[in-house]
C-alpha cells in the first residue's frame, strides 16, 4: 500500500503526514508513506486544495486535516 500526503509543506500538511504515519504504525500495516510537495504532481492528481491524501492512487480527502479514524478506515477499506 502506498499513501501519499499531498501539500507544499504548511503546518496542516505536516500534521496530516504525522497522523498518517501514526495510524500506519498503530495498525501495523505494510504501507509506504510518501510526502508529495511537487506542484506538478499535486496538480496531476486533480487536487484543488491541500492538504490531501491519496491511498494507492485514489484521493481520499482534499483541503483538510483528516481525523485518525478516517485514515484508519481508508487503510482498512
Amino acid at each position: 500500500m502506498e499513501i501519499k500526503v499531498l501539500g507544499p509543506g504548511c503546518p496542516k500538511c505536516h500534521e496530516t503526514e504525522k497522523l498518517v504515519r501514526e495510524v500506519v504504525a498503530e495498525k501495523g500495516v505494510d504501507a509506504r508513506v510518501v510526502k508529495v510537495s511537487d506542484f506538478q504532481e499535486i496538480a496531476r492528481m486533480g487536487v484543488f486544495s491541500t492538504p490531501a491524501v491519496a491511498v494507492d492512487g485514489v484521493v481520499k480527502c482534499v483541503g483538510k486535516v483528516p481525523a485518525k479514524a478516517e485514515i484508519a478506515a481508508w487503510i482498512n477499506g
Binding site: G7, P8, C10, A43, G46, F48, T50, C61, V62
Partner: protein, 130 residues
C-alpha cells in the same frame, strides 16, 4: 489550477460547462476572468466528468462551488449530480437573457462576460445568505 496550502479562507471553486456554443464559451471566459481577478479558482469539470478521483473528491470536499452552465441542457449540473455533488450556486447563461447562437463564430460580447461574472457572484452571495 493551483493548490494553495493553509489559506485562511477556502477558495471558491468555479466550474464552467465551456460548451461548444457562444453561451458555453461565455461560461468559460467568465470563469477565466473570475480566476484572474482572484474571486475564485477555475477547476477542471472534465476531470470530474471523467470520474477521476482527485477531481471528484476535490469538488465534493470544497464548500463553495460555483457552477456555470451555458444553457438549459445543464451539462455541468448533470455531471455534478451524477457524482453526488450538491448544486448550491448555479447560473444558466440563457436565463440571463443571452441568446444561444449555434454558429461557428462563437462571438462573445465583453458586456455579456461581465453579466455572467456578476450572476455568478450573486449566486454565491445568495447561497451564503440562504
Amino acid at each position: 489550477m493551483t493548490a494553495t496550502c493553509c489559506s485562511k479562507e477556502k477558495d471558491i471553486m468555479i466550474l464552467a460547462c465551456s460548451g461548444g456554443s457562444n453561451v458555453g464559451q461565455l461560461t468559460n471566459q467568465a470563469a477565466v476572468e473570475l480566476t484572474r481577478e482572484g474571486y475564485g479558482k477555475m477547476f477542471c469539470l472534465a476531470g470530474i466528468g471523467g470520474g477521476l478521483s482527485g477531481f471528484v473528491k476535490s469538488a465534493q470536499d470544497t464548500p463553495q462551488v460555483m457552477v456555470l452552465d451555458g444553457c438549459q441542457v445543464g451539462c455541468a449540473k448533470a455531471i455534478l449530480e451524477r457524482e453526488g455533488i450538491p448544486l448550491k450556486h448555479h447560473v444558466i447563461v440563457t436565463d440571463l437573457g443571452i441568446e444561444k447562437v449555434k454558429d461557428r463564430r462563437l462571438d462573445m460580447d465583453p458586456a455579456d462576460v461581465a453579466k455572467v461574472m456578476n450572476a455568478g457572484k450573486s449566486a454565491m452571495d445568495a447561497g451564503a445568505q440562504a
